[in-house]
Every structure is written in C-alpha cells, then in structure tokens.
C-alpha cells in the first residue's frame, strides 16, 4: 500500500487541504515541512482518523469528548469533517489497483462538555477507467491492508517513538507489540491458520477410520473426539482467561506505578494523621503561649511589680515612719493619758486636777495642743501598721524578676515549638497537596479489585489445567483402547494412510511454523543490528565501542548489547538519538524482511538528532530501495531545525516537498496576511529552500530562501 494523496476538510484548522505524496520508487521520500504549530501533527491525526476513525486517535480518557473541528467553528451548526485518502494496493497476484477511502462525519461544535457527532460514513472505492466501484466493507478492507494494531509501525509520532523498546512501557505490552508486528508482517499468522486446518483434517480422517473400523472403534473415537472438544473448549477458556490476565496485569502494573509515584510523595493516611497531630501540637503551643501572656498580664497588675520598681522609695517611706516611731512621735498615746487624768481629777504626780484647780487649766491647754497633732499622727500610725502588714505579707523585690524570667522562658519555649511545628505542618500539607486524594483512593480500589480478579483468574487457570490433564488422560486411555480394537479389526488401509499423512503434515507444519518464527526473528534481528549500527556509526568490534550489537530475544524484547556481555537500558543508557535510531531500525528491518509495501509516516523524527547520526539516519530511511528490497514510501514531517544539516540529502531522495503553514502565525512569524476570518492551515509546494506568499516567514531571510510567485507555489 502506497498513499498517493490525502484531502482533508474541516479537520481542526485544516479547512480544505490536499497533500500529494511521492509514490516514485526512485524517490520514496515525501518531505512535509512545517514549523511548530503549523499542522504537522494535525495532518498525522487526520490521516489516522481517516483510516481508523476515532480508534485511530491518541487514547484519551473520554474519546468521544475529542473535538475534530476547529474551535472557531460556530457552536450549534453541524460541520462535515471529511478525510479522503487515495492509495495504491498490490495484491498477492502482483496486480496493483488504486483505491479511494473517504470518511465523513457530522460534528456539532458546542461547549467543552461535548461535541455531538453522528455515525462515521466510510466508503472505499476501487478506481477504474470504467468508473469507481465500491468495496465493502470498507473498514474490514482497511484493517486487512493496514491493520490498526500495527499503526504504530506505519504512523509514528516522534514523541512516542520508543514504544517498541522503552522500559517505561510495560514489558508485556512492549513484547506483545514486537511479537505481533513480526507475526503479522512476516505471514506467520497465516501459517498458524494452516496448522489449525490440518488439525481439523486429521481429526476428520481419524473419525472416518474409526467409523469404518466398526461400532466399538467408532464409539471410542467419538468418545475421544468428545474429550478433545472438551479439551479444546478448556484451552479456549484458558486462552481467554490468559489474555484477560495479561490485560489485567498490565493495568495492575500501570496503576501500581502511578500509585507508587503518588505514594512516593508520602502515605496519605500517615500524612493526615501527622497533620492532625501537628495541628493539635500547634493548638497546644498556642495555648501555652496564651497562658504565658496571661501570666504576664497578671504580673503587670500585681504588687511584686510595684515592689520591684518602686520598692526603694517605699522602703524610704517605711524608714521614716519607723524613725517617727523611734522618736515616739507615733503612736500618739499622751492624749489618752491627759484625758484620763482630767477625768479622775488627779495628776500622775498627785496634784489636784478637779475643776477650779489651777493645774487643771494647764492640763486642759496641753490636751488641746495634743489634739491638734493627733490627726496626722494617727494617719502616720495607721500607715506604719499597714506598711508592716504589707511587708509581712511579702515585700519581695525579686519576686517580679523571677516571675518575669519564668513567663518569658515559657513563652519563648512555646513559641519556638510553635514555629518548629508550623514548619513541619507546612511541609506535611505541601506533601499532601501533591497527592491527588481521590486518585489514590480510586487507584487503591481499582488495584484491590484487579488483584482479586487476577487471583481468581490464577485459580481458574489451575482448575482448567487440572481438567485438561484429566481429559488428556482419558483421551490417552481411549486411544489405547482404540488402538487395540483397530489392531484386531482390519481397518481401511487408504484412510489410515491419509490420516497418517495428515498427521505428518500437521506435525511438519507446526515445526515449520516454529522454525520460521525463529528464522524470521533471527533475520529481523540481524538486519536490525545492521541498520542500527550503521545509523549510529558504531563498529561492533571497536575496542572502546559501547554498542556491540542488537538482537530480539525469545521473549521478543529488543536488547542492545554492550561490552562483556552486558545489555544497555534503552531508557537510561541510550541517548534520544540512539533510541530513535533503534526504533526506526526495527521498523525498517521488519518491513524489509517481510517484503511488504507500506507507508512509513513519521512526525518530527529528527528531534534530538544531529551531526553524523542525523546524516546517516536520513540516508538509511530515505534511500531508494535496492536489490530485492520492495518499494516503500517514507513521509517525514519535519521542522526547519530538523531539516538543517540534511537539506541536501532530503533534496536528493524526496519526490515531493510540501510546506504547511497556519494563518494564526501572522503577523508574529508569517510575513503575509491571508485575510481570512479564522485561522486555517494551507499547504504549498515550497521546498526547504523556497518561500511564497503562503509560507514566507520573517526568519526566511536569515536562511536565504528563494521567493516564488503564487502560481508556482500552489
């Protein structure tokens, strides 16, 4: 199959684009040049959609939500999306015909929640001089010509080019891809069908031999046949379960990997518990802080602070009072003595103080004088006693200082712990934010479910194996009986011979199948090594060479061999250029050994590749077929930077050059305004050395491109 052209209508920003591809065996290369965002990947997707419908597009969680139309299409109005691919197909007889595949669907642009689409309308026509003839069913034909499961071989994106070799792809999936590609492309699958047919013929002949050998033999044979059917049914069940197990194991590994990545950040439950503990500790610290502050406030209104600050002056006041007391100014007791003497009428010296006595008048005068001083003395006396009481209760001028240090220490300790805890809490919360809680739960549930199913599957496989062993034992017994019966009776000699021949053929076919598979793998392996080492410019025998060889193992793993029998990890020990070289070498070697004619479309294959490797890679994958090599077709979607260093080589091998551009790049990058109402992608026939009114870019001058008029460009 070689693709002649593709016509794309309303697929994303490709509103009406036709691209022709080179089908010239001498120039198998088509170069489609486009800067970032010009529509190279859109072209790849459009072709995948045209061939396989939505199944051909990259897998996303909700494929129906993928939009085929451009975001500029008005909401609510159905838009016809259409891709038409014209291709050549050479059948097994060597006859080549031209076909036109047309896929169309109506999509109604709307909100982001969905883009209602009708059923795909797929039609395939064989083009003939007398008129196009529809070929039915179109999807089945396409699947036969260019199987979807092998689309990775035919249509490759530079970004996921490592599907066949990467350790990041689960080993079962990777090995299955390599195995499937080898079986499909090398015709081993057809041989497998032949072996099954021979088994059927052998069984039928056996039954006939038995039938003609008498009722006992026939019954025994029927019993054997019934048992074999049981075995076949059990084997089919086993096969179904094994396939399901593989799928589930793939999911299990993917989910475990994702979960491990999420859990690598930290266990969610553990983090939640840690955060709760830290928050609780924060609260405790804050309470300690508040308690310390409350103690400080209490201290601010207490007597110890007063003693601490003004104690010296208070003590001076107390000392004055004590001095007054020492001088007996306080307390004032004479007032009471004078009053008592006047009341008794006799002085303490015995003199008469009765009214009318001369001395009484003198004492009365003394009493008045004392009364005048008594008020102040009284107050001083009271103050002295109060001060004594206060001092007795605790006149400790150091108490406030001690309390101050204690509360400050407590506050500081609580605050320091609070700061530390806050840091820990923020770290834990940051970690938790990185964990998608819902996803962890979903993955955990899914893993629990799939683990249980895998366990059930293992048990079921064990039961099936036991059943098969039991049936096979019974078959062996019946066959032994049958052999004895047949020996006794004279069986139809011709039928026996045919049966034996059929059995021999079956055994032979099975051995051929096994050998072919091994031989083909060896051939692909050898060619793979040749191409890979040639691209990277390695000599297997070089003393300091890192790459000694490449091979495909029995498990269909592609391994790169290094010094001393070691192998290299393709993810971590191969650089990007070598990874691309290895994948391209595999695709090329497989197609060469299989001898099939098929397109090989690769989007941005030369990223991360430069220098000699780039030259050799381009030379290897674009050179015209030589010798027995079948014609092939290479379509490379390249950026300007990928073309650099290999422009001359491309010009030698390319039969067609196409440049695609998108009007959204005006005026930032494009020189000319296309005057449209919405962004569109257009194609022109400019080579990497030319430009026109469609593709002219502001940086072209720096690259010395030749400007062409429109007539020449379109």
């Amino acid at each position: 199959m070689l693709i002649r052209s593709v016509h794309i209508v309303n697929f994303k920003m490709m509103r009406d684009v036709t691209i022709n591809f080179s089908v010239d065996p001498a120039r198998p290369l088509t170069v489609i040049r486009g800067e970032n965002g010009s529509g190279k990947t859109t072209l790849l997707y459009a072709m995948l959609w045209g061939l396989y419908g939505m199944n051909g597009l990259p897998k996303v969680a909700n494929a129906d939500a993928l939009r085929l139309t451009c975001t500029f299409c008005p909401a609510g109005s159905p838009v016809a999306v259409e891709v038409e691919i014209v291709f050549d197909h050479t059948d097994d007889t060597g006859m080549t015909s031209q076909y036109r595949l047309r896929r169309m669907v109506l999509e109604t642009p709307g909100s982001d929640s969905g883009y209602p689409r009708g059923q795909d309308d797929v039609k395939l026509f064989r083009l003939a001089p007398e008129g196009d003839k529809p070929v039915m069913p179109a999807d089945a034909w396409i699947e036969h010509l260019i199987p979807h499961r092998l689309s990775d071989l035919f249509f490759t994106n530079g970004d996921d080019i490592q599907k066949f070799i990467s350790g990041r792809v689960h080993s079962h999936e990777r090995q299955s891809k390599v195995h499937q590609a080898i079986r499909e492309l090398l015709g081993i699958e057809q041989l497998t069908t032949g072996v099954a047919d021979l088994k059927h013929v052998f069984g039928s002949l056996k039954r006939r031999v038995s039938a003609e050998s008498g009722s006992d033999a026939q019954k025994l044979e029927e019993a054997c046949e019934a048992l074999r059917r049981q075995i076949a049914e059990q084997e089919e069940s086993r096969s179904v379960i094994e396939d399901r197990q593989k799928v589930m194991e793939t999911h299990q590994h993917e989910w475990e990997r994702e979960l491990n990545q999420l859990r690598g950040i930290g266990d969610l439950e553990e983090l939640n518990a840690q955060i709760a503990t830290l928050k609780s500790r924060m609260r405790a610290c804050q309470e300690r802080e508040q308690a310390a502050l409350a103690d400080m406030r209490t201290a601010f209104r207490g007597q110890p602070l007063s003693w601490a600050l003004a104690g010296t002056q208070v003590d001076e006041g107390r000392a004055k009072l004590e001095e007054l007391a020492d001088r007996r100014v306080i307390p004032n007791t004479s007032l009471k003595v004078l009053e008592d003497r006047l009341e008794d009428g006799e002085c303490i010296c015995g003199s008469d103080l009765h009214p009318g006595s001369g001395l009484r008048e003198h004492v009365q005068q003394l009493l008045e004088e004392q009364r005048e001083n008594s008020e102040i003395a009284q107050r001083l006396t009271e103050l002295r006693y109060d001060a004594r009481g206060l001092a007795a209760a605790g006149a400790d001028t150091e108490e406030f200082a001690r309390r101050r240090l204690a509360t400050l220490a407590e506050y500081t300790a609580a605050h320091d712990e609070l700061v530390r805890t806050d840091v820990e809490l923020k770290q834990a919360e940051t970690k938790r934010r990185l964990i998608d809680d819902a996803r962890v739960r979903t993955l955990t549930d899914d893993l629990a479910g799939v683990s249980k199913k895998i366990g059930d599957g293992v048990l079921e496989l064990g039961r099936i194996a036991e059943r098969i062993a039991a049936f096979e034992g019974q078959v062996a017994d019946r066959e032994q009986e049958l052999a004895a019966v047949l020996k006794k009776r004279r069986a139809n000699h011709d039928l026996v011979i045919k049966r034996d021949v059929a059995d021999d053929l079956r055994i032979l076919a099975e051995q051929v199948q096994g050998r072919l598979e091994g031989e083909y793998v060896d051939k692909v392996s050898a060619r793979l090594q040749e191409i890979f080492l040639s691209i990277i410019g390695a000599e297997p025998d070089a003393r300091l060479g890192v790459f000694r060889g490449v091979s495909i193992t029995e498990n269909f793993d592609i391994v790169v061999e290094s010094q001393n029998g070691t192998t290299l990890d393709t993810d971590y020990e191969l650089n990007g250029a070598s990874q691309r070289a290895l994948t391209l070498a595999f695709i090329w070697s497989l197609m060469e050994v299989a001898g099939i004619t098929a397109p090989r479309l690769i989007d941005t294959p030369l990223g991360m590749v430069s220098g000699g490797v780039k030259q050799r890679m381009v030379s290897t994958i674009t050179h015209p077929p030589t010798g027995d090599e079948p014609p092939y077709q290479v379509i490379l979607l390249l950026t300007r930077s990928e073309i650099m260093e290999v422009g001359e080589l491309l010009a030698q091998h390319a039969g067609v050059f196409v440049t695609i551009s998108c009007s959204k790049d005006y005026p930032a990058d494009l020189v000319y305004d296309w005057l449209g109402d919405e962004p569109v992608i257009q194609a022109c026939s400019c080579t990497h050395e030319q430009s026109c009114r469609i593709c002219a870019r502001r940086i072209d001058n720096a690259h010395g491109l030749a400007f062409r008029d429109m007539a020449a460009a379109i």
């Binding site: 502050l293 107050r379 200082a401």
Partner: protein, 138 residues
Amino acid sequence: MAEVINRYASADLFMPDDLHRVIREHVGINQPFARQIDAWWIGFCLGVRHGQTRPLPAPDRRVKFMDGAVLSSDPWRIIHLELVAVGLRGEEILTRPREVMQLATEHANYGLEMLVNALTGQNEPTLALMNFLDPAQL
C-alpha cells in the same frame, strides 16, 4: 491588715491625651492591661524608680480616665503611694491628699511615656512590655 482608708477617692486621675490615646488601645481582653489604672500605676512606679516627673499638661491636653476611688480595689497601692510620698516629701504630705495625687500623677506621666514607647509598634505588646520591664535594666 485593717481596712485601708482611701483618702483620694474623690481625686481625679489624669493622663496627657497623647499618651492616653495609646494606652487605651492596650487595655482590655488579651491586652497588656486589664484596666487603665494598671497602666497608670506602672507608669507611676517607673517614674518613681527613675526619680523623674512630667508635669500634667493644660486641661485641654489631658484626659481624666478615672477617679481615685479605683485605688480602693487594690488597697496596697494606697499604702505604696503614701509611703513613696512620705519617703519623697516627708510625713506632712499626708495631710495634703491633693499634693499626694499631684506627686503621683507627675511621676506617672513620666513612666507612661516610657510605657508608650515600649508598646508602640509591637506585634505582641504584652510580650514587649514584659521584655521592657526588666528591673535590672530599668
């Protein structure tokens, strides 16, 4: 201890209004001072410790925040006040309660200014105040 007689109950307690504007913001729940009198008293103690006074400003630049009756709630303050007054001015001052209050107010004015400086611009004024009130440094 016998009941202390408050001879200053009828006296008005003042603060300069510039200081009062700050002090009143630091009175209440979770503030350094439960009452304005607590701030005034610390101001008085600080003034006494430093032996410094600040005259009460003119009536239009002062605020009466309380009367002397509030001293009865902490009678030990009356005793300290009078002992300080006696220590500074002699025993005769007790016969002139107005003079005792003036003495106290002028010392408090000085100390309140120190308090205001210590409190202004602090995130946790209680902590700042406790740090400030270091008897060894004052």
